[in-house]
Symmetry: none
Subunit: 191 residues, 4 copies
DNA sequence: TATGAATGAGGGTTCATTCAT
DNA sequence: CATGAATGAACCCTCATTCAT
């Protein structure tokens, strides 16, 4: 087996184990067993346990960052927004283990790691808030604190994803996209 | 010092320590030191470290559950919704350490614990979804999957709280309540 | 048992174990067993294995440094020289385990540690060489490189000590002192 | 490359690595890298790491044993003594890596190995002591314990070598021979 | 013969928990 | 009740050695 292939297998195994048990409950031996190798083998490919976890998160962040496009307010805003919702849902629903690691376990590693996670979310929120502010100038975003709107959006997406993964009710992605968009566009309370 | 008082002091100390370091990085010795007692004393009041953490979370859950009122669709729905938003914000902003434990660290303890957290959120979502379904019958909630709306709401609130605590920008609670309500009522995107 | 007492016991046990097995072959468990405590207890008194070894060597160095007096060439040189020989022999013969650690095992720990040992010997040689140089000025030390004389002296003492400890032949310390002095004063080859 | 040649290369590499790092800090991988072969190759030529170290020491011992001639008291004793001093200095100064392994690292391997080293020195001392005893019969060696004289001589030589290698001051070998001889013949203290 | 990926025993260290005082 | 020294299970990581290619 090629070195690169074995490395991928270890990452796959680690992803499954971390998703199930979290960072601290996942023992290096668990990862090795899940990959059907000896414990020592893990250390031929990674310097330590933490770096495996870190690589999984980094990779997920990269995919998310790559999938999201900064909204260009000169173009079709609605479809760009929907594209981004679709992109985020796509990345995370296609890799529910990574998603679970990020949402359920990434915070419990250690303070340094938490900062990294926070920084990523902060970056997203920042980018989103800037787009929203631009949108306010164009009158396509309601008045109000764009950081709050950004936080709403992120939170709604996160929890939606958690809900969708935990709950067995099957829903097409497009329906989810529309549901999120609907929320952003008109909420759900009616008088 | 009374037994009950000492127990409270230990919980207070544990809350601070867990909030700062998370479950695994917080050592029993840290908690003892924060409470100015010896390590052994902790075990006179709690059977183990996990149960302290658990009690903090349980207590927070109780306060949250107690603060939230099931919406009575016969009454003033708007104000009941706002009341609930206000209540959740109140409980969590008044006790930022508990909030941090819940949002940043509760997931990293172990799989069993994660289930407990998930179950609580699920209960909230369930209750909220039921109210929303009722509301749909009365025409005051838009058509669509009430579980999704419930997830949106929860997620938006969570992230809002994270944002508010992390970000230094000071905002009155009432402004936050109105902002959340505004989102639920009409979103923020305008064409 | 007092904390200080337990610490001494651990040092005593470590001294015996290190003397017998050397740094690497001596396991922390060996030291714990020799002191009749659990392995974890060792770490209540020392941060790590190396620091125990280091403390033993440091202590020995202190005792040696304290025992040796710089020779004052205004006084009775012969007796001062004999005093120093006697002092070094005394310190090391009274603590053969430490001696063995120093002579047989201290070099095998790691490069940093070896430097420390070298530095100590170098300091001794330096001090001795300076005294000898002074002695040359007074005509009581033969011409020649004082560093070499210092090295001879140290080496002769070291090996004498090794010999005396390994060999069962019992000899009074005073006889040893006289023998060393004799060597320094007139060698042993006769024509 | 011939089997024998490769074996020599591995020994050369090992000598360098052991001299620099000592037995425990020198990893088999270090040796392989220094010899520009793969780790597994080392094991085609040697059964284990210890045996490489052992062979280096054995070889050095052989060269030393071969260089030293038992003093024939019928002949020119002075020059035979000088010859031996010259021979030991020659062997060790020509191969400073082996010397460093012997003096600085051979003690730290394990108890069994330490015994081997001790045994070698003991053999040397024994041989030397016997010659000295013979010399005492002929009146060319002072009265006194010949084992002690042997120990002195060995120790002085060892430390001289250490000094010469560590210190940058350049000295001709003949000067060193004369210095050692001078010590043996008349010490360095004068009244 | 040479390779280097894989193995797995073993060791240092941590820390939740216990218990004698 | 309170203490804090002691315990020892458990884990991460290293590296000498093996073996399939």
């Amino acid at each position: 087996m090629s070195k690169e292939r074995r490395r991928e297998e270890l990452l796959d195994a680690a992803r499954r184990v971390f998703a199930e048990k979290g960072f601290h409950e996942a023992k290096v031996g668990d990862i090795a067993r899940a990959a059907s190798v000896a414990k020592g083998t893990v250390y031929l490919y990674f310097p330590d346990k933490r770096s495996i976890f870190s690589e999984l998160i980094d990779h997920l962040f990269l995919r998310l960052s790559g999938a999201i496009l900064r909204v260009d307010t000169d173009g079709d805003v609605i479809n760009q927004v929907k594209h981004n919702i679709r992109a985020v849902l796509g990345v995370l629903l296609d890799d529910p283990d990574s998603m679970r690691i990020l949402f359920a376990h990434a915070g419990g590693v250690d303070p340094t790691f938490s900062e990294k996670i926070d920084a990523f979310y902060d970056g997203l929120k920042q980018m989103l808030a800037e787009s929203l502010e631009e949108g306010q100038g164009l009158g396509i975003v309601a008045d109000g604190d764009p950081r709050l709107y950004a936080a709403f959006t992120l939170g709604a997406l996160k929890e939606l994803l958690t809900e969708v993964t935990q709950n067995s009710e099957p829903r097409t992605r497009e329906a989810l996209v529309e549901a999120v968009y609907g929320l952003l566009e008109s909420g759900y309370l009616r008088q």
